[in-house]
Amino acid sequence: MSVLSQLNVIQVSGLTKRVNTLEGSLTILSDINFSVKSGESVAIVGASGSGKSTLLSLLAGLDVASEGEIHLDGEALSTLDEEARARLRADKIGFVFQSFMLVQSLTALENVMLPAELAGDHDAKAQAVELLEKVGLSHRLAHYPSQLSGGEQQRVAIARAFIGSPKILFADEPSANLDRKNGQLIENLLFDLNKQNGTTLVLVTHDEQLAKKCQRIIHIEGGQLEKISEGGAANVG
């Protein structure tokens, strides 16, 4: 294993995604190449329908590429089956989604503990409580998602994303469903926790302001990588 790939926690080469539709094969992504270093924060931006979510789903191993290869922390995703990819996600990846995706029948605390429990880790409670404290929800531990506001639900989702100290965090438009104020709160939380934990952050967004908070910005246009620019945070970090 080269030093480069050790540093590059995500390495994407020649990534292409095609889907079969009624009108024939449709290429959603073609020949995408980039890499993300450990601890780096990267934003993926582009117009609606340009393929951002598709890219994210491939990176997280939720879907499989048609061509090309993705290495996550040194492991080639194409060599893993669905079970192995699930295990990889359990070990190394955290998620935050636009629609918060909490399990309705579990409390805030239980939702946060869910990834750890699925991975068979029973001592996650202390860490979960601590994370919920950090997102300012220590008084809502036993509340169900339906009893929380959108912003609060997203904060639970963020706490959940950081449980088990993942190496990489994927976020798909985490603040798009929230008002300005709450959106900002969420974004700040995300970046703070990211910094504290030394996590690699890959963030999909429409929001130029948000993108600028990342170290690098990957621009996608019509399924192709248009350019990679430096974000505002590059100077700082």
Partner: protein, 837 residues
């Protein structure tokens, strides 16, 4: 590790009510099957016991020759209780009066089932005893007391023996329902047969062995006995008797069976729909868990554990509720019937638990497999995995399961097939209707904003889901309608068989010259009576010159046994008549014309039930042995005979040119009231040779059994109706849950609660009405087939349900829908939005 999570999720789902419908559906299936099969079993055990009383045993073997002694010893070896019986005619003599009596000699164990009713003197009250007269004593029926001018305590000569008359014989359990033996009956101890010297080689006697025991012992014995049965030996159980009871028991059993099947179908539909719905609601959590790294195995384990927990809980709950229900029901029935119902065995427990298990497994199998296959990508692409059409595999699997369940439960492929086919028909019709209707509605282009247009728009938008709902509504309505009508028909039919003004006394053995004076006597005393029929008895000896073998037993299901030789060893009562009796119907051939006008060849009209038994066709020649005289008669017609009526019915009716060829007596039936007692004594004293058979007790017994069975049927029907209502309610609830989102959006957009409520009301009214109409039509057609195939009654259409179906469907479905929506609308919009999650 996953276990803890699984239990946590389970308890939450339980609390959130997500599992309630599945739980209710399985429990419903279990409790329906349990309570129905337990009650059915208890009732039919009771009926079988009661009916066994009618032959004083569970099975009997009859012959006109003595039985080999090992038949009895072997029966005792199999653990059966036995009794012996011998019928013969003998002269009785007392006070210079000589009278022919029909004697029944019995061993001490007679009757094995039922009781003998006797009186201490002609005027004292009747009571029941368990055994017959001791050696040296005889019991005489009332008619003989008059004919011999004796009283209790006198001595009477019977054949060569002298006997003490100790009791008045009122009734034996197996007194012939209709025979020529009449009321000159004598009950004698078996040990005294020799004393009478009345039975000599060559005398006409009739032997019977009676057996009682459990079904297993009986069938083991029959297996042993069958190969050695002779052609003159006739094995019979209660089902072999052609009596109103035998037929009614079979009908009642069939009804209960059908009701049980419907209960299963209803619960199965509820289960199939709710399992699918539950799994669909788990799509998001499962996709989420997969995204968060949950492995397939963990997810599978979690949901399989849920399924097992639900299954176990609901089976236990179903059994418990079912047990309570059937206990209450059986107690109620028992107090009404004035008897104790025997306990049901293990079968209902095992059967219902098994059916619950199969329901749980089969109906959730496909939805669960789909659930395990939900791609994690769904967290990003929300509609991924949403199955728009229900999977064909799920439908096929569910249908197959329902079919197999019905088959297991009924053990009858024919019934199952008819019901299943009519159900498929409903589904097909409804699918076509919903397609047409929803397509047509689209073109109507109703004014927007009105409740009706909103209702129609909603119906169209959800065409697929609605089709499914329509089908489940219609199924539930169909099953309920079906049972209601069937019940009404069966009970009406029974009541017709035993009308309140039925004759309750048969008068037989009337000499030709007595006919006119007796008619006059009836007229003078204002007694209603039937025609006087000439009667004689004869044995069917041969058809087209070919003699017969042993008769098969219906009790042992031998009618379908191709190897059993067919034949009859019965001596039917015969008559000649110029016109077809009331209630009979020619099925083939023509009623006599030639014989009536005085030709020489004798014709015969045969009961169509004997057509197959004897292998007869029109034009065959039957040889009848009447008093050793052979009479040849040509078959010119077959008749349907309703043996359910308590009227004189004849297997064979000969053409009127029989008159004068054989000695006959005349027969009639009269309706006698308690106030006529004096007239009866007068009649018996004036014409001592005639006999009267009191069938009042038989009529009362038949009526009481009909009442019991009607009640049982009503009870079972109400269970099925409750199940049906539950299915409808759960369906409406499910469909409302699916509509929540829309309602909330409409509400949020400012639609008035009234508009939404009315729209829902109309929508459900349409759904319920259409479902009800189709259900009515299809159940009427299915009924036509079922009544003919299973209940042996002429099927007919019931136009009133074509109105009842849609009306009740619309009313019921829409009112449930309305109340549920009204309830929802009381919550504020914010709360509703939250609930959607």
């Amino acid at each position: 590790m996953w276990v803890k999570l699984a239990f946590k999720l389970f308890s939450r789902e339980l609390r959130r009510g997500e599992l309630t419908i599945i739980f209710a559906a399985i429990a419903l299936a279990v409790l329906t099957v349990f309570s129905l099969s337990a009650i059915t079993e208890r009732i039919s055990l009771n009926l079988a016991q009661k009916s066994s009383d009618f032959i004083a045993s569970d099975r009997r073997l009859s012959s006109n020759h003595a039985f080999e002694p090992q038949l009895l010893t072997q029966a005792n070896k199999f653990g059966l209780a036995t009794a012996e019986m011998l019928y013969f005619d003998s002269m009785l003599f007392a006070n210079d009066e000589l009278v022919l009596g029909s004697v029944k000699a019995i061993t001490g164990s007679y009757p094995l089932r039922g009781k003998i009713t006797i009186k201490d003197s002609l005027t004292s009250p009747a009571y029941d005893v368990d055994t017959g007269p001791k050696a040296g004593a005889i019991w005489l029926s009332e008619g003989l007391f008059y004919a011999l001018k004796v009283k209790v305590g006198d001595k009477v000569e019977l054949g060569a023996g002298l006997f003490n008359v100790t009791k008045v014989l009122v009734k034996e359990p197996d007194a012939p329902f209709f025979s020529l033996s009449g009321n000159k009956r004598v009950l004698l101890n078996y040990a005294d047969i020799a004393t009478t010297q009345a039975v000599q080689p060559g005398s006409r006697v009739f032997h019977r062995l009676l057996f009682a025991g459990n079904e297993q012992q009986l069938s083991e014995y029959y297996t042993w006995l069958k190969p050695q049965l002779k052609s003159n030996q006739n094995w019979q159980g209660i089902k072999d008797r052609q009596s109103p009871l035998g037929n009614n028991i079979v009908r009642a059993e069939r009804f209960l069976l059908l009701a049980g099947l419907f209960g299963i179908m209803l619960a199965a539909v509820a289960m199939a729909v709710s399992a699918k719905r539950y799994c669909e609601r788990q799509y998001d959590p499962v996709a989420m868990m997969k995204t968060l790294g949950g492995s397939r195995k963990v997810i599978r384990n979690i949901f399989l554990l849920h399924l097992s927990l639900v299954t176990v809980f609901s089976i236990v709950a179903g059994l418990m509720v079912g047990f309570v229900l059937q206990t209450i029901g059986a107690d109620y029935l028992a107090t009404f019937m004035g008897t104790e119902l025997p306990q049901a065995g293990f079968r209902p427990w095992l059967l219902s638990a098994f059916i619950g298990l199969v329901c749980a497994l089969m109906f959730s199998l496909k939805p669960l497999l789909d659930l395990f296959d939900i791609p994690p990508l769904r967290v990003l692409r929300r509609n991924l995995g949403d199955t728009l059409a229900i999977s064909r595999i799920h439908i096929a699997l569910s249908m197959m399961t329902i079919f197999v369940l019905m088959w297991i439960f009924s053990g009858e492929i024919m019934t199952t097939l008819i019901l299943f086919a009519s159900t498929l028909l409903i589904i097909a019709i409804l699918f076509a209707i919903s397609r047409l209707l929803f397509a047509a509605g689209r073109r109507l282009g109703l004014r927007p904003g009105s409740s009706w247009s909103l209702a129609l728009a909603t119906l169209q938008k959800r065409a697929n889901a609605n089709a499914i709902q329509l089908i489940s509504f219609a199924l539930a309505i169909k099953l309920m309608l079906f049972l209601v009508i069937l019940k009404n028909d069966i009970i009406a039919d029974w009541q017709m068989q035993v009308p309140a003004d039925a004759p309750n006394m048969f008068i037989i053995n009337i000499a030709k010259e007595e006919v006119t004076p007796i008619k006059k006597f009836f007229r003078d005393n204002n007694i209603a009576h039937e025609d006087f029929y000439p009667v004689f008895s004869g044995r069917v000896d041969a058809v087209n010159g070919e003699k017969f073998a042993r008769r098969v037993s219906k009790q042992e299901g031998e009618e379908n046994d191709k190897n059993a030789k067919k034949g009859v060893s019965r001596e039917p009562n015969l008559t000649w008549l110029a016109s077809l009796p009331e209630g009979n119907e020619i099925t083939e051939g023509q009623w006599f014309t030639y014989g009536v006008t005085g030709g020489n060849d004798i014709e015969v009209s045969v009961f169509d039930g004997w057509q197959d038994v004897l292998g007869l066709k029109l034009g065959d020649t039957i040889t009848l042995l009447v008093n050793e005289q052979a009479i040849n008669a040509k078959v010119t017609s077959f008749r349907k005979v309703d043996w359910g009526t308590l009227k004189p019915n004849f297997v064979m009716i000969l053409s009127p040119n029989m008159a004068g060829k054989v000695p006959v007596t005349y027969f009639s039936a009269a309706q006698l009231h308690d106030s006529d007692t004096k007239a009866i004594s007068q009649l018996l004293q004036r014409y001592p040779t005639i006999s009267m058979i009191d069938i009042k007790s038989q009529i009362e017994q038949a009526q009481s059994i009909i009442a019991q069975v009607s009640l049982a049927i009503g009870f079972v029907l109400s269970i099925v109706l409750v199940s049906g209502a539950l299915v409808l309610i759960s369906q409406v609830q499910a469909s409302l849950a699916e509509r929540m989102e829309e309602m909330v959006i409409l509400r949020t957009l400012g639609a008035k609660g009234r508009l939404i409520k009315l729209a829902t009301l109309y929508e459900f009214m349409l759904l319920g009405g259409i479902a009800g109409l189709v259900a009515a039509l299809v159940s009427d057609i299915a009924l036509l087939v079922i009544q003919q195939q299973l209940f042996d009654v002429a099927g007919r259409l019931h136009p009133y349900i074509w109105l009842l179906g849609p009306l009740s469907g619309a009313l019921f479905v829409s009112s449930i829908g309305y109340f549920m929506v009204a309830h929802t609308m009381r919550q504020n919009t914010q709360g509703l939005l939250r609930k959607l999650g």
